[in-house]
Symmetry: C2
Subunit: 479 residues, 2 copies
């Protein structure tokens, strides 16, 4: 390894030494985002934003396939509107940014910068919904939201972040529940199939649910360091918001009824999950299906006649099927190898004079690091297969990590030991009492992640208080 390549790699702190520093190093070296000089707000740089654009494209097509349409609501919420639903305002008012002046004038009423848009959608729906013919309303919005966080970390917790928020209104309770679970499944499939991140699907306890919701459902993923990350949520509001905002419709029998509502969201947080589920000490590993560059072409001995021409021709050819980048800069091939590893590009393609003579190229997988010599005749199919293999290997590795870091606890001693020594998810029974959740959080810093849909009966008793158990719960320390 030449000196300059070594330097590039050395600048990333090994993950076992300091995971938080590793995370920050990756974000900085791969130019995913930058600090902005605005407290708690990020600059999402081109490479980070390109990942987000691919996430958007995949999610948006799934939302549209399930009948949703995009809209745009105002960035501001008048204080009186935020206050209409009691639980909701209690949950969000302490962490919003307040606009008090427009130009040089003091406003008659303060406006908050939206922390989420339930109140705006409700206000709109109250005017737009009249009859059963207007239902269901299936809307989504891509935007930024602001929550005034005290401590922030890029992607994971920032004062401003990007997300999508779906907001729907239905004629019946059953339809709203179907929608809530449909969208949770859309998120779960997206995470597993596109991001190669296995998730646990389940319901949040009342303590952890969204402010104003009847029920919150979640997908939970496990990072490489054994901490959990809430990766997407879907809420059933029942008719609570509808009653607060007066959203009524006349049904087929001309009776006036309240609608039933849902909302669901996924944010740029998920980029943090991609980094922490897949990355290693050499850098990012990006799942092929959202990698901004799927194939990086690195010419070898590019000063020799014909090499750059051939590499450029190949780049043009491959661009018809893949996202390809040809790096013909004057950096050394070794430097480029390290750089594209660090950037998490799934496949590196090397081509030099000897390869050209043999009508071949070298493909190197970011995951296995194996080299494979392939003929240029059918290189597209070889790349396609390799990308599919990588996508699958990444999912399998993430699942293996999660399984290794998932324990079962029957007693509170066992529970505390698992959380303290092993980390990861701990499966344990729970009585349903918030006091036990609070005690566990205080004594172990672990929280209830979810009551999974796939229940197991580990014992009859709550792991904390010993009273009869109601649910098996996934517990863990979380981001």
């Amino acid at each position: 390894m030449a000196k300059d390549e070594k330097k590039l790699v050395e600048e990333i702190t090994p993950m076992d030494e300091d995971f938080a520093q590793w995370y920050t190093d990756i974000i900085k070296k791969a130019h995913l985002c930058d600090y902005s000089g605005v407290r708690g707000c990020m600059v999402i740089e081109p490479y980070g934003y390109a990942i987000w654009e691919n996430i958007q494209k995949e999610l948006d097509s799934r939302f549209k396939a399930t009948g949703h349409k995009n809209v745009y609501m105002p960035v501001f919420i008048p204080e009186s509107l935020l206050q209409k639903e009691k639980d909701h305002v209690e949950g969000f008012a302490p962490e919003v940014a307040w606009v008090t002046h427009g130009g040089n004038e003091k406003l008659a009423e303060r406006l908050c910068v939206r922390p989420t848009s339930e109140t705006l959608f409700c206000n709109y729906y109250a005017g737009a919904i009249h009859s059963y013919r207007d239902l269901p309303k299936l809307c989504n919005q891509w935007c930024s939201v602001v929550r005034w966080e005290k401590t922030t970390r890029p992607f994971l917790r920032s004062s401003e972040f990007l997300w999508q928020e779906g907001h729907t209104a239905h004629a019946t309770e059953e339809e709203a529940q179907e929608e809530t679970l449909r969208m949770l499944n859309v998120y779960a499939d997206f995470c597993e199939e596109v991001l190669a991140i296995p998730v646990i699907k389940g319901r949040k306890t009342d303590k952890e649910k969204f402010a104003g919701a009847n029920a919150t459902y979640t997908i939970e993923s496990l990072m490489h360091d054994g901490k959990a990350l809430q990766s997407g949520t879907s809420h059933n509001f029942g008719d609570g918001f509808a009653r607060a905002f007066g959203i009524q419709y006349t049904d087929e029998n001309n009776e006036l009824k309240y609608v039933h509502q849902t909302s669901w969201g996924m944010s740029t947080r998920i980029i943090g999950a991609i980094i922490m589920v897949h990355g290693d000490d050499a850098g990012l590993k990006l799942p092929p299906r959202i990698a901004p560059v799927q194939v990086a072409i690195v010419p070898v001995a590019q000063h020799k006649e014909g090499v750059l021409d051939k590499a450029s021709e190949l780049c043009g050819r491959l661009s018809e099927r893949f996202r390809v980048k040809l790096d013909d800069s004057d950096k050394s091939p070794g430097w480029k190898f390290s750089e594209y590893e660090m950037l998490g590009v799934p496949v590196r393609l090397e081509i030099g004079p000897k390869d050209i003579e043999k009508n071949q190229a070298v493909l190197v997988s970011r995951i296995t690091r194996e080299k494979k010599f392939v003929s240029l005749n059918n290189i597209e199919d070889e790349i396609e297969n390799l990308l599919n293999d990588i996508q699958k290997e990444m999912f399998d590795a993430a699942l293996k990590n999660r399984e290794e870091k998932t324990s079962t606890a029957r007693t509170y001693d066992e529970f505390k030991k698992c959380i303290a020594e092993k980390g990861g998810f701990v499966k344990a029974m729970w009585c349903g009492d918030v006091a036990c959740e609070e005690k566990i959080k205080e004594e172990t810093t672990a929280t209830s992640r979810c009551m999974p849909f796939e229940q197991e009966k580990i014992s009859d008793r709550c792991v904390c208080c010993g009273k009869p158990a109601k649910k098996m719960v996934y517990w863990g320390k979380a981001y």
Copy 2:
């Protein structure tokens, strides 16, 4: 015409009677946007947002083809950052919204909600640019911005609007100027080819240029009522911002130099232009290339056996090439005809039992309203041709309107008469003195729209003061 169809059409005020009311009626009836209960902010509804998504797709691919990458900057600008460039802060400070509190705490420094992001990009570039190898920086951002407007109109002037803002940094003055004009041409081509809106390309006078720019270039379009609309702008900043923010690079000779910068933007205002350039008393007319629905299929006698099946089969077939909607609701065909006219859908396809017998369908153009019976065998090609014809006819009609409403004035009396009686663009010579612009504005309410690239020598004298003329200027009342 049945009673219910008549009602739908009657609700739109004729444009010759009251153009402003016609505009508002269209927006409301076509569900493009809704008032939000937040002062001066719109709810962009699904149909309006779908138009914006098509605009985004077309523009974004042009930006990427010219080497630009998307990023995301914070929604907030600290007051001290906004103040760094003197002209810029003077232009924007009076119309920004100020955040003074986060949660329950008063902020040490006020933050404004971005009215435009030059200062944020400059702050980022100051840290990200070191050497000539880092140049050019070619970034773009899709976001919303806030300008505290006193009087607002949907799409045309609102306190919050959506836009894109490109921000670039270059090694030399020449490169920055090339970029400024390149992006102006991207906007012009997009307007003419995609939106079917002819534009005048030119430079703004110093009075009308962007706060902080050396030069602002614009594309100006003419609405049906003879008022002008600034439809996109591209600014050359020279090194003014670079000096204020300290954005320097070392060149090939290891000398420290300031970068030269540009910015350029197009907003949801352009949706207002689409409405006002193309619409008529029956409603919207959408250019096929951005219409959310290009073909509306209306079954005739849909209760008869086989009609809906055939319509649905046709919908599936056409969806492979076009954006198609099948309306199988229980409204009458006549109602549907009016509704899709009002929504500006370029092509209506009618199919009933007799058509099915003859293996044909009826195509009706929104522009010519001509009916054409076409065989189902090659209906895709027929539709393709019709959409292309419509796109061209719309451009030609808009160009004809602009030409009819463009006058030439040699004397100030002529000038005042043209503005007062005919409206539209008036071409007249100008001495270059801001005093004449101010006098003209005060006495006629017309403003200088631009100094067009295609200059004509109408006379030697300024139309206002009679001193020697420097430039031919397009003047007009503007939105």
